[in-house]
């Protein structure tokens, strides 16, 4: 058993000519049914379509990031992906030490100071969340909507702000209740929050809370179909509660990883830059769902266009949200 699929990568660097990719996960691990896993999908696609040699390393603790990155750098991999904002501080350090290796970081722009051999990929989650907000605002019957965040951090606040802006834009009468679990894995808390929200009349809840969000699906499943809804995040989470998942805000990290790896391999990429991805690049979207009514879909599409052509500027922080419209 084991991960036989990954064998052969360690052949001792037989073909010097081959393009080699390494991917270091954050502490969530490779198969986290979320962010890291989607990233790895992108790497696998690169292996299949481009013949790239790929190899993953999981981090058990924050301590492991540097050794893992270093390990790949010493193997002289052509690009080393670091998945997650948690790598924000360590990437510059390693990048400086190995100027001849390329690094890619997802979800952070390194505060704008991006070393020459690094490419920083960020997503406009607030924009995707805005559409989730629109979907919620147009689906709610009670005009009460919920948002469950994991740990209050600027990244999650970005989701919250976008989401609330979307609700405000599409249905100003709807109220959004916000709660943070201050955890990414306390399912009980997620479930309690969801339970309390639904009990108090909220009928649509969006989450950006990792494992805590699973509690949301656990709760919504026990409630009446067609009346209570959950909106997933990062990937299409409808599998968790098929009849209750309104949609999910999907981040196509896989596409991003694939495209950038491809560009680098074909030497078309200029590194030392931030690559911001949004609707235009097809990197964000709402998952297809039979539960979204056609007129809602239409509205969502309209807003999406408005965001793409800059008519709507979606807020990223609470401060920006306060002055939105």
């Amino acid at each position: 058993v084991g991960c036989s699929g990954q064998k052969g990568a360690e052949g001792g660097g037989d073909k010097a000519a081959g393009f080699k990719l390494g991917l270091v996960t954050d502490t969530g691990g490779l198969n986290d049914q979320s962010f890291n896993q989607i990233s790895w999908e992108g790497a696998k696609r690169a292996q299949k379509e481009l013949g790239v040699d790929i190899q993953p390393l999981e981090s058990k603790r924050d301590d492991d990031y540097i050794p893992n990155l270093t390990k790949f750098a010493r193997e002289k991999r052509d690009i080393i992906w670091a998945t997650g904002f948690k790598f924000e501080k360590v990437i510059p350090e390693v990048a400086e030490q190995f100027p001849n290796v390329h690094f890619g970081i997802v979800d952070s722009n390194l505060g704008g100071k991006i070393p020459k051999n690094v490419v920083a990929v960020t997503f406009k989650e607030h924009e995707g969340s805005f559409l989730a907000g629109v979907a919620a605002a147009l689906t709610t019957k009670t005009n009460k909507i919920g948002f469950i965040g994991g740990i209050s951090s600027p990244l999650i606040k970005k989701f919250e702000s976008g989401f609330r802006a979307g609700v405000k834009a599409a249905n100003p009468k709807a109220q959004v209740t916000v709660a943070y679990a201050e955890s990414f894995n306390d399912v009980t808390k997620g479930r309690s929050l969801a339970k309390n929200m639904y009990n108090s009349g909220i009928d649509v809840i969006y989450h950006a809370a990792g494992g805590v969000g699973k509690g949301l699906f656990d709760e919504v499943k026990t409630r009446d179909k067609g009346k209570y809804w959950a909106i997933g995040v990062d990937m299409d989470q409808s599998g968790l509660a098929p009849d209750h998942t309104l949609t999910s805000m999907v981040k196509r990290v896989d596409t991003a990883i694939f495209n950038i790896t491809k560009d680098l391999k074909e030497k078309k990429l200029e590194t030392g830059k931030e690559v911001q991805l949004g609707f235009k690049e097809n990197a964000l979207d709402l998952a297809k769902s039979q539960h979204l009514k056609p007129d809602v879909m239409k509205k969502i599409e309209e807003y999406k266009q408005k965001i793409i052509n800059g008519e709507i500027k979606v807020p990223k922080t609470e401060a920006e949200l306060a002055s939105f419209k």
Binding site: G28, T177, N196, S200
Partner: protein, 310 residues
Amino acid sequence: MIDILTNILQTTVLYATPLILAAMGGLFSERSGVVNIGLEGLMTIGAFTAAVTTINTGSPWIGVLAAILAGIVLALPHAIASITFKADQVVSGVAINFLALGLSVYLVKYLYNSGQTPTVQKKIEALSIPGLSEIPVLGPSLFKATAFTYIAIAIVIISYIILYKTTFGMRLRAVGEHPHAAETAGVSVIQLRYIAVLISGALAAIGGACLSISIGSEFNQGTVAGQGFIALAALIFGKWKPFGTLGAATFFGFAVALSLMGQLIGLVKYVPSEVLSMAPYILTILALAGFVGRAVSPAALGKPYEKGSR
């Protein structure tokens, strides 16, 4: 207002249920004189086994049974080390925690090549007791709970009866207070402590199962995330008594419920949500420092039993 009360009560019950189960496990072990800091690990193995078994058999009740079995099996090394080999009980409990977390995640990765199990489809869901569940406030929280909650409360009552009304219970308490007295009265200290530690494994594992196949619907390394330690705290807080422990676990659940409610009624505008999340822990400290104070543990707690020594 009624809504808020209902919500608070529901959250309290939800949170307290696994804590009660695990803490009652701890109670048996510690009343017999064996420290059980391994509750966290026992819950973990219970959560893991219940999830995997339920996924494979489609029956959550078989999952619970399997969890009980696994809890007993994992408690066995703790019993052997601390009773037969007279190891330091804290050490052995710490080892249980390492073992459980290591083994369960290792197995999950081996079985599913992933950091967590697939989603458990058939779970133990809430059970409305007709009539009673219609009572305002109390109904929705107490009589529309899952089987685990009823089991937890039943276990508290049964434990009380066992502990104070039956031969086994009296012997158990005697063994935890003065094992030599028990031995000279013809009670087998070793045998009783084994039974107590194994019961502890079983109950803590049910608590774990509650997390993975009732409240949640999968197992990963964050499933238990410290609740075994909270259960241990509840046991001490409850002064090693069944109803005291029930009360302590409920108090903790209640404190969490208050902090969640604080968010939902918009307190976050004034108080950072991290501070609200701290509240249950601060409340517990205040309660202990202010009202509860000294906890007298079973006299022989933590001391390996050696025949003939004193």
